[in-house]
Symmetry: C2
Subunit: 116 residues, 2 copies
């Protein structure tokens, strides 16, 4: 968030922004999609799937974990990563509500005050 002035925004705005930030990189979007396709909890094969260095992928994984969108548990030699579907569902609702509100008011346009 860099220079964050977070205190001034509502919790909803911050939560939405936090999740959006987590999805703000194609690699992380790809990771989630990959995880969704896996039936078993594959670990670092994720790195093999992406055009990025393993350490970089690991870093993205940590970021997603920080927002709790994914969970990871050590299973012997490999780490089992999986989606936090409960949170994902909850986040989906937040996004839906946000977009609904945004698209609801047809303020501008040919019928509005200006001609955007």
């Amino acid at each position: 968030m860099t220079h964050a002035k977070t205190a001034a925004f509502t919790a909803e705005q911050q939560q939405l922004a936090r999740v959006a930030k987590a999805l703000a990189h194609p690699a992380r979007v790809a990771i989630i999609q990959f995880l969704a396709r896996q039936t078993t909890c594959i670990s670092g094969d994720i790195a093999a799937e992406l055009p990025l260095a393993r350490t970089t992928v690991s870093q993205h994984l940590q970021e997603l974990k920080a927002v709790d969108l994914i969970r990871g548990e050590i299973d012997g030699l490999t780490v089992c990563y999986c989606l936090n579907t409960a949170l994902l569902r909850q986040v989906q609702q937040q996004f839906t509500a946000f977009f609904d509100a945004a698209t609801a008011g047809a303020a501008c346009g040919p019928d509005g005050a200006c001609a955007c």
Copy 2:
């Protein structure tokens, strides 16, 4: 995107990431919500609504405009900003599809391979 290796990801992943990035800051979330509430296309009053300097808000506005989520047209002395509801609706579908896919596969959990 910083060191972007965009070429390696699908257009969908990049588009999703681009929009997510645009929403990755509470100020921008707030701006969109504010715009949604306005019936008329208010301009820089937005700055007054947020705890940020006018120039900073202007910068966020430019970023949102760069992704085309909002439109802005000069109307005399003020600039008329409004939401691109068409794109917003389209983006909403993308997010919905993404989340649906992500929450669909109940890979892990008590019944899965690992105990995340």
